[in-house]
Structures are given as C-alpha cells and as structure tokens.
C-alpha cells in the first residue's frame, strides 16, 4: 500500500516537457535562477535568461558594447549630458500584445526604486535625479524623480550627474520594463515574491517569450511574435539547462546534449586545448580576482607591509601556471580597456623593493611578522591560488602564511565584519566603466570590506561624478586608482576570462567583456564543425 501511495505521488513528476520543434539552442546555464522578475535578481544565470525575455530602451552591440536602439528607436541627449529624451517605437508591444508605452518604463523604474521592494540592484538607478532619496524612503513623491512621460511614446529622463555609461547600462536587467497590467494582477506594485513571473503569467518585451520553467530542470523560451524585430530573430527557441555541477555540464556537452555551457571544469581545459580546441572559448571578461588586506588590523595598518605583500606576488606565474585558461596577470583593479580606460598605475613584481619595504616596517626578512591568514571560500581554484601565494610570500619575503578555508556565507560574514587578515575577493563589473570598480573602495562603502579610507581618493571619485569632459573624468579616475594601488588595501591577482564550451555548429556569436549572449543572433549550422 505504501508502494502504491509512493507510485501515485511519484506519478505527478512524470510529465516531461515536450521537445520543441525547429532550431533550438541548448545552453547550460549554471545555477538555477532565483526568479525571473528582472527587478528581484542579481546573478549571471538570471541575466542570461532575462535578456531573452526583456529588452531595455537601448541594447548593446555585443561586439563593441556600444548602445544600439532597443525598445526605443532613438534618443536625444542634452549638451550637458543630463537629459535624455527617448523615442519609443510606435506599435511596440508586450509579448501578450498589450501596447508598450513610456508609462510602462516610468512605472517599472518606480517599482524598482520603491523601498519596500528592496531591489538589490536599485542602486544602478541612483543616477536618476532624486532616485537615491526615493529609494531610501526619504521622499515618497515620485514626481520629483528624474523620469517624466511626455507622451505615450516619449520618455524624458533627467540625471543627477552626467553618466557616460547611462545608455549602455540600459541593457542591464535593472532597467528592463515590467508589465504593470500583469504585475498588479498578482499583488501590490512593491510586493516581493508574487507569482507574476511564473510561466503562463510572465509577460515580457524581448525577442523571446517564456514557454516553460521547470525549476532545476529546464527553462524554455520561444520566439515572441510581438517583438518589434521578430523577423530578425534567428533561433526558434532557446532551452536553458540549470546544471550547477561543472562535471555534469561538461559530460552533457560531450554527449552532444548542449550547444554551449556556462563554464568549464578547470582540469578539463588542457584536454580541450589538446583535443577539441575548436570547442573551447576563452575571452576577456570584465572581472578581477584580487586579495583584500584588512587595513584595520595590525601589522596591515602599515601600508609598507601591504605593499610588500603586493609586490612579492609573481602574477605571471599564477596566471600562466596555476589558472591555465588564458587569464591575464592583473597589475590593477580595473581590467584593461574598460570603456577606453587602462590603468596607468600598476603593481610591479619587485622583490628588492618588497624586501626593503618590509624591513623598513620593522620586519626584516619577515622576522617578527605574525603568521598571515589567507581566507578563501571553498573552491579548488581559490585553494590552489592561496597555496601559491603562501609559497611566494614564504620564499620571497620569509613571511609565514596560513590557509583559512570557510564556507561561502561564513566567508562573507568574515569580510563584512572585517574579521580576517588577507582574503580572496573578486569584482565583476555591472556596467562597462572604471568607476563601477573604483567606487567600491569609497570610505565606508558597502563593498569596501577592507576598512580602508583615503580622503584624497574619495574626493577624486566624487569629483569624477560631476565631470562632463570624458577625458578629464578618466584622468580623475586614473589618479584615484594610483592612490588605491599605491596604498595597497587590495592586491590584484588576475583578470577573469569568460571560459566556456561551444559547439562549432553555433554561428553568430560575438565575444564581449560582459559575457553577454544575444540569443536572437545565434543560429545552428549542422556540420558547422568544418570551420
């Protein structure tokens, strides 16, 4: 009888989603998505799916990352760079056929900024006038915020200060419109976690529409007939497989059940290099791997100690021999060529200077320096790097380092409470601009996490906010990064690469620093392996 009951219960899980006809791109998507409400998510996995379902006012060209028309056909920018007037496409529609208007964008941004919704990415919208105060709940008058609907197809946006990356940022999911007529059916505007984003209810304005979402199994999106550029959408459907185990994903790819993966297990990279180089994709990525040094904890309060540790790392060796997937050794925080910015300052590998600094600080040959704990969250790669750093510090400086491994949440809590000496860290850019990296280290900033403070640095960053002249603005940021690297609360290690597997059948792919796929541009050419 128990068996019968179990069979009956189990019976309800036996409804395999039907195979989609036509050209279907099958993509490994890493983690299971948290939600498909663009205003409630933060992860890469979510963004990869959402950019198929929604579209901002502007998109980005995947090759150049320059803004291109999206839901808006065109825009005008005022000479002071503070006012943007967007002209929406006449006849633009949601995927259920409802008209898409300027009012939809204004309402969506209001929802994004509403304090009760507590959207984690709301800060990206703080460049709108008065948005920060509205988001913090200091004012509840949305009409003061820099968004105005001039007519159903015209949206006028006023910014707090000139933001050179404002247009290219429109392709970030924080700026996507959400359908008021659907969201309000399932709850109040600012209510978290309602059911509007489930299959059957979710309505978007992107090139695809949500057909199915079986949690931990599959997300399927199919062509959206109401999309303004539907004729240019190449695949009939995209299937996202949330396979969080790297080995399983790689095996699934090898068996021919995926066209592209989210990532590659580190130990398989040399194998693919040797046997299937045409399937291995390695591209520069807008992210940096670095070590934080706790600037509030002696002896690291002494910048000479921090600098000595930074200068004693042979980054070339770490990138080439430890990481092995084309990572570039990092001499700065901001990855090179980020929106035309490449840091002038670099942390050098200079053993003589490092030893001299350490001696000057009172620890000649590492003598008298208490053991340095290197904190990292559980991962094979982090551990290998930490071991290499440990060896380098011991050999080059005579500094004794110990490895300290913590589970992800414990590690985050240690970072937040400054309960560490040296900690592995990383930053992935949200938008392609150096300020997105540099503003992390403002005094007291939530992402500072090393207790470091420099009034001169803060002043330069804040000054850059108001600077209209692009060259002058980048110069201010250059000076700020010089201060940061010179004071060394962080030790850059390497710049990330976007490493994944892709079948040669897939055509139309453009690599870019943001790790973006434009699903509508991809198509399959069976036997495309000939290339």
């Amino acid at each position: 009888m128990l068996f019968a009951a179990v069979l009956l219960l189990a019976g309800c899980s036996c409804n395999p989603p039907p195979e989609l006809p036509g050209m279907v791109i099958k993509a490994g998507n890493g983690a299971e998505v948290q939600d498909l409400d663009p205003q409630q998510v933060t992860g890469v996995a979510e963004h990869r799916v959402l950019c198929s379902l929604f579209e901002g006012l502007a998109g980005v060209d995947p090759a150049t990352l320059e803004p291109v028309p999206g839901a808006a056909a065109s825009w005008d920018v005022s000479p002071d760079g503070l006012t943007y007037t967007f002209h929406l496409r006449p006849g633009g529609k949601w995927s259920d056929g409802a008209p898409l208007t300027a009012e939809d964008f204004a309402w969506s941004w209001r929802r994004m900024l509403s304090p009760r919704l507590a959207a984690e990415y709301a800060y990206l919208l703080h460049c709108l006038r008065v948005a920060e105060a509205y988001n913090a709940g200091d004012t509840d008058d949305f009409s003061t915020v820099g968004v105005r609907v001039a007519d159903p197809l015209t949206l006028v946006v006023t910014l707090e200060h000139p933001t050179p990356y404002f247009l290219s940022m429109q392709s970030h999911c924080a700026w996507y419109p959400v359908p008021r007529h659907v969201v309000e059916k399932f709850g109040a505007m600012d209510e978290r976690a309602t059911a509007w984003s489930r299959p059957g209810s979710l309505v978007g304005n992107g090139p695809f529409l949500l057909r199915d979402w079986q949690p931990n199994e599959l997300i399927q999106v199919v062509r959206n007939p109401h999309y303004w550029d539907a004729a240019a959408v190449k695949p009939d459907a995209v299937a996202f497989y949330p396979i969080d185990n790297l080995q399983t994903e790689e095996r699934t790819f090898r068996a021919g059940n995926l066209h592209l993966t989210a990532t590659v297990p580190m130990h398989r990279i040399p194998v693919y290099r040797r046997e299937h180089p045409e399937q291995l994709r390695i591209h520069p990525y807008l992210g940096v791997y670095f070590y934080r040094v706790n600037a509030t904890k002696p002896p690291f309060t002494d910048r000479r100690v921090r600098r000595a540790l930074a200068m004693a790392l042979d980054r070339e060796e770490i990138a080439a021999h430890v990481m092995k997937s084309g990572e570039l050794p990092a001499g700065s925080l901001v990855p090179p060529d980020t929106a035309g910015y490449t840091s002038r300052a670099r942390v050098a590998f200079d053993l003589e200077a490092a030893r001299a600094l350490l001696a000057e600080a009172g620890f000649p040959g590492g003598e008298g320096l208490p053991p340095v704990d290197i904190l990292y969250n559980t991962s094979e790669a982090h551990k290998t790097i930490a071991e290499t750093v440990q060896r380098m510090w011991r050999e080059h400086l005579g500094v004794d380092a110990r490895l300290l491994n913590q589970d992800w949440k414990v590690y985050l809590s240690s970072l937040n409470t400054l309960d560490y000496a040296v900690a592995r860290s990383s930053w992935i850019g949200d938008v392609v601009d150096p300020v997105n990296f540099l503003e992390c280290f403002l005094t007291g900033g939530g992402n500072n996490r090393c207790g470091w403070s420099s009034p001169a640095y803060d002043r330069l960053i804040r000054e850059s906010y108001g600077e209209v002249d692009p060259a002058r603005r980048l110069e201010l940021l250059q000076q700020a990064e010089e201060i940061l690297l010179d004071d060394a609360p962080i030790i850059p290690v390497y710049y990330y690469t976007w490493t994944f597997l892709m079948s040669p059948e897939v055509q139309g792919f453009q690599p870019n620093m943001l790790g973006l796929f434009r699903w509508q541009d991809l198509w399959l050419e069976p036997g495309g392996a000939g290339k």
């Binding site: 179990v6 899980s13 939600d35 304090p115 984690e120 984003s197 931990n216 090898r254």
Partner: protein
C-alpha cells in the same frame, strides 16, 4: 493494534517539535545570513527585506509564528528562491526524490536479496565469496565514483543512455542503479546473514525431514524469517532513499529534494532548511512505524511486544 498505531503516531508529535526547534535555532546560529551576497546590500534595503520576511521580530516571536504556520501546513516563503513557498517546493521536489528512491529501492531489493539468497544457499563456497566480495565493493564504492563511471561507460562510450536529466524513462536507469547499488550491497549481506541463521533452526530441519523440496523450504519457510533484518533496515533506509540523495541528484541533474536541502543550507535559506528537515523527520518517523508494522506481520513473536 489500532491503539498501538495511534500511540506511535502521537509519539511522533514531540519528536517533530524537538526537530523543528533544534533546526530553527541552529540554522540561525550559523554565521552569515540569507541575504549576504558578493555585492553588499544597502543597509536600508536589507532592513526592508528582513522586515518583509518578518526577520526583524524578536526570535521567540519568529519561532512561535513559524510553529503556528507550520502546524497549518505553511512552511513559509523561501528566501533564496522567490515566488514560491517552501511547501510548494517540497510538493514539487519530494515526488521526484520519491520516484528515484522507489526505483533505487527496487534495484536494491532485486539485486540485494537475489545475491543474498544465492550466497546463503552455498555458504563459504566460491559463489558465496564472489557475491559477498562484490557486495563489499558496492558498500565501499561511493555514488560520486559509481555515477560518473556508469555515465562514462553507458552514455559517453556506448551512447545507450542519457548523461543527465529526468524526463524519459531512459534518464532514470543510471541514477536508480547508482543510488540502489549501495543499498543492494547492504541488503545482500543482511539477507545472507538472516537466511543462514534461519536455515540452521529446528523448524527448517523439520521441514526437510517432512521431505519438502529445497526451493519450497527456502521460499516458503526460511525467507519469511530470513528477511527480518532487511525489513528492519528498510524503514530508515527508505526514508533516506525517498528524501533524496544530494550526490546522485547532483551528478545526474535530477530536480529532487536532496539537492534543494543541501543548497538551502549553503544559502542559509532558513525556512527551506527547517521545512525540509521537518518533512524528512516526519518521513523517517512514519517509515519506521511502517517497518515495525511489517515486522510484526512477518514475525508473530514481535506482535505481543
């Protein structure tokens, strides 16, 4: 009999209460919270989120609220996977894990009892040693080795079965074998032991003296006593099988409860952890009861106790 079952069911209530209480507080004692992330949340936004999930209330209030809700079947919202409640997640996931568990159980019983019987028939023979060595290997070989090994052979080399997923019957073969293998090994050893003990008893000698065929003695008279240890083992084992195996579900990309539970623990998804532990505890208790009842049915001596 009814009184016995009712008493046992009533005993489950304080057990569950204790489990919920311990889990509720332990998971909150772990460092880090559900909303810590790589990019740090603005303090005001964090406070709003905590208020939404009623995490700003005093702990004892949260605890009492949780108990009151749980008693009515509401296990609260998941913090990490927004848009669905824990009750919905369990309803979505548990059947998948149970289905996998059921297949694995079938594999385990078929292989385990078959092998155990074979070994018991000819104790200390080459067959016995062969089967028991294989069983030992099965116990020692963990799922995370066996699973990828099976995939390598049957999926990547032979191309017979899919690598991962949970849609068609073909998808379910390798996970069932991987999960069932370890239990099969235990069951084989237990069946052998139980059968050997039973076969040495007087009533078997009597049966032999009456001239019954060996097959009839084995299946009709000895088996009933011989599988007693297996039945006792099946209660907790079934609970383990039905609530999902993190390893097997991860290797084969199966959307079951086992993965959900481990992920939730890593994410500090308090409600999801407490909810899944509660369901797990209830299943263990109920299946143990079922195992006791089955044992009583098999062995008249146990009925009186």
């Amino acid at each position: 009999m009814t009184g016995f079952v009712l008493r046992r069911l009533l005993e489950i209530v304080p057990v569950l209460l204790a489990v919920v209480t311990i889990t509720f507080f332990l998971v909150r004692l772990a460092p880090g919270g559900p909303f810590d992330s790589e990019k740090r949340l603005e303090p005001k936004a964090q406070a709003q989120i905590e208020a939404f999930y009623r995490l700003d209330r005093p702990l004892h209030r949260q605890y009492l609220d949780y108990l009151w809700d749980a008693a009515r079947g509401d296990l609260g919202p998941s913090y990490r996977k927004t848009g669905r409640t824990v009750t919905e997640w369990v309803a979505l996931r548990l059947p998948v894990s149970m289905e996998l568990g059921l297949y694995a159980l079938a594999v385990a019983l078929a292989i385990g009892m078959g092998a155990g019987l074979l070994a018991a028939l000819r104790p200390n023979s080459l067959l016995d040693h062969g089967v028991m060595s294989a069983a030992m290997l099965g116990i020692c070989l963990p799922g995370f080795v066996l699973g990828p090994l099976l995939t390598l052979v049957f999926s990547l080399w032979m191309g017979w079965l899919p690598v991962a997923g949970w849609t068609t019957p073909a998808h379910k073969i390798l996970p069932a074998i991987t999960l069932g293998a370890m239990y099969a090994a235990y069951i084989a050893r237990m069946t052998r032991g139980g059968m050997l003990e039973t076969l040495s008893q007087d009533f078997i000698r009597t049966a032999r003296a009456k001239g019954l065929t060996e097959a009839r003695i084995l299946l009709r008279h000895a088996l009933r006593g011989g599988i007693q240890p297996v039945v006792a083992f099946l209660g907790p084992a079934m609970a383990g099988l039905f609530t999902g195996s993190f390893v097997v579900e991860t290797i084969f990309q199966i959307p079951g409860l086992g993965r959900e539970f481990v992920e939730a623990a890593f994410n500090r998804d308090y409600t999801m952890v407490t909810g899944t532990v509660l369901v797990y505890a209830a299943l263990v208790a109920l299946l143990n009861l079922a195992a006791d009842l089955a044992q009583a049915w098999l062995d008249p001596r146990a009925r009186g106790q």
